[in-house]
Symmetry: C2
Subunit: 268 residues, 2 copies
């Protein structure tokens, strides 16, 4: 895609962490960019693999950064999975290895969340980033799977960078511990899987060719968008995997900017 | 190897769980087999991937089954790793994600075991089966690795069968969670790695051709022994992976018995 065609798109899909904000700090010009796009009558969706916070948590965080957003514009793995379960299985009994936010979101969609170590059997077990993950939970999950429970994961990211460059383990590493025992691959909903992108497009009633995805993570944001035929803007400055792809051929097909600020300067 | 040549071997290396005993129950005729081999002046070693119990714990367990064994005859991943560290690095500062037995064994070899969350940096972090494994330990390990600590694992088994067929997560699943984040393979000492076999042979002062390994797990006992040129007796009755290998070519080279009892009946 040519840079000059960016403003012909109807829908702008944004990654959040590493793109619109870094932890609790807004990216430079992020607020101005969102305001500008609204002025141009563009539809906006935020697509995040975050499996700890739900849309309401993130709405609050964005508001603190001066960015006003409707919860409907925020598409999280945390929120989507409850909706998916309802459409696929109806309202069911679930165990959740994950945050309070994830549990709340599952309950919000009408499911029953059983206690982690309840003897009652769950039909589905959901794995998200769980700071209370432990050996006994791992044991519970693999034994529930043996008894027939389906295991689903929010996202497959192994880790994300935290404060001062600290490594923060993510859902993908917990999933790896489980898969190593069960030998069954666990389906995940986050990027690069198509679910969140598709849900975003459907909620805007547009086709892939009318959207552009803007993100810093090549493996999730760019690869996921490309697999659906959505154009990508790749922010290279904060990318944790920029070098790995610098030489690839497909990279020539995507628009690259260093940062949200550079992107804003180019389109405004 | 031909079955009739078994008694020409000088050293009998036995796996423990699934071979000599199942949990806290001795295998039928296990005591008689060991007594018979001692009567034939055979040297005996027990080689186990157990990363929770050390040789003294296992000596007690065997004694309760009527099998008298010297601690020197029991070779565990738990005990070996402290010795390896001493030979390779001298006496060092270590963090241990594992059992009290593993920690005691490391200390026994002269190393300093730091508290799990001590700010003091460890030179090496050892991963064993840890029923107190948790998210914060996972985070500690990957961040210590980032700062330069070497991570070593006792064994790579993903799980083992517990009471009533329950799945008991093992060291290998915890290692998978870590490796998924660090992208660095973790070296392990248990079977099928050569370390414990080699240590067993050296302690008996024999060559591989003078030994036979008896075990139920093809992937660890048989594969490990074969890679060193040690003959194998494979106990198929309790094997968790018998079917997987039934058709393989190498299987024709190894002696198969259903159980320790059948093995005893054939050699006595």
């Amino acid at each position: 895609m040519n840079e000059s065609l960016l403003l012909e798109k109807k829908v702008f899909l944004f990654d959040l962490d590493g793109c619109i904000y870094h932890g609790h700090r807004a990216s430079t010009r992020a607020a101005e960019l969102i305001a500008f796009l609204r002025g141009e009558n563009k539809q906006i969706r935020f697509i995040t693999n975050n499996s700890t916070d739900n849309a309401i948590d993130i709405q609050d965080r964005l508001l603190n950064m001066g960015i006003q957003v409707a919860t409907e514009e925020i598409i999280t793995a945390t929120d989507y999975i409850g909706l998916y379960l309802k459409e696929r299985f109806g309202e069911i009994k679930v165990k959740v290895v994950g945050s309070i936010g994830l549990k709340k979101s599952i309950i919000h969609h009408g499911h029953v969340v059983l206690d982690d170590f309840s003897h009652e059997r769950a039909e589905v077990i959901i794995i998200g980033r769980d700071v209370t993950f432990c050996y006994e939970k791992l044991k519970m999950v693999v034994n529930e799977e043996k008894r027939g429970a389906i295991i689903l994961g929010t996202n497959m990211d192994a880790a994300h960078p935290g404060l001062n460059g600290e490594i923060v383990p993510e859902t993908g590493s917990l999933i790896a511990a489980i898969e190593t025992i069960t030998s069954n691959p666990i389906m995940t909903f986050g990027k690069p899987s198509p679910y969140l992108f598709t849900y975003g497009m459907e909620s805007c009633d547009v086709k892939a060719s009318e959207c552009v995805m803007i993100g810093d993570n090549y493996d999730t944001d760019v690869v996921g968008a490309m697999s659906l035929g959505i154009s990508s803007v790749w922010l290279t400055d904060v990318s944790i995997n920029a070098l790995k792809y610098e030489a690839s051929d497909t990279i020539k097909k995507i628009v690259k900017f260093k940062s949200i600020e550079d992107f804003y300067m180019a389109v405004r």
